[in-house]
């Protein structure tokens, strides 16, 4: 189980460890659970620079207003339920890393707003790495 918190703005946050796929670079960060995002992980430009990640691909994402925006992606790893999961993080111009629903697809997410806590429970093994 992964435990998180709800902050003063109502953001559902979990602390995660993200790694460079090859080097020993690693950062701990607070990621915002975003159920409107159908991908896996957004990292900020500063987090990508700190990890020294290399750009790999570019994808397009559909925004809430119907517009389409291109995002660069970067291979990295996230520690998730005791395993290192390989994924392509997308680069956000925003201030927060975001966790999307694809990372949660085998999980139960429970947010207790009055208690300002959240739990993520894995129903099956996390996604396998290529």
């Amino acid at each position: 189980m992964i435990n998180g918190r709800v902050d003063d703005y109502g953001r559902a946050l979990v602390s995660v460890k993200v790694r460079h796929p090859v080097s020993a670079a690693v950062i701990n960060l607070d990621a915002w659970i975003d159920t409107g995002f159908t991908g896996l992980l957004f990292l900020t430009q500063a987090q990508i620079a700190t990890l020294g990640l290399s750009k790999s691909s570019t994808v397009q994402g559909g925004l809430a207003d119907g517009s389409v925006v291109a995002f660069d992606t970067y291979p990295c790893q996230i520690d998730w339920f005791g395993r290192r999961v390989h994924l392509e993080a997308m680069e956000t111009p925003g201030r927060f890393a975001l966790i999307g629903v694809q990372l949660l697809e085998d999980c139960t997410l429970a947010i207790d707003y009055p208690a300002r806590t959240l739990t993520i429970t894995a129903q099956t093994a996390p996604p396998s790495s290529p």
């Binding site: 790999s56 397009q60 291109a70």
Partner: protein, 82 residues
């Protein structure tokens, strides 16, 4: 947001997808992620995005690629407007 270089990769990748790949892949690999290396036109499929991009990196380690999702207008939906 993405650089001019990345936008050009998207343009060329979309062109290859729509002209050479769409008709066949939408019959055979609906919902898969497809990563396209624009210079060669080589493409790689995966049920997860990282499967397709990792295969492309193994074949073309120095190249930037475009990744889309077969049958969808965009690879992902994002519930915000930056």
């Amino acid at each position: 947001m993405a650089s001019a270089q990345s936008l050009e990769i998207v343009r060329r990748g979309e062109e290859i997808y729509s002209q050479r790949l769409r008709a066949e892949l939408e019959k055979t690999h609906w919902g898969y992620f497809v990563t396209i290396e624009p210079d060669s036109g080589d493409y790689y499929l995966g049920r997860r995005m990282e499967e397709a991009t990792a295969a492309a990196r193994r074949a073309h380690p120095e190249k930037l690629t475009y990744t889309g999702r077969v049958g969808f207008p965009t690879a992902f939906e994002i519930g915000f407007c930056p």
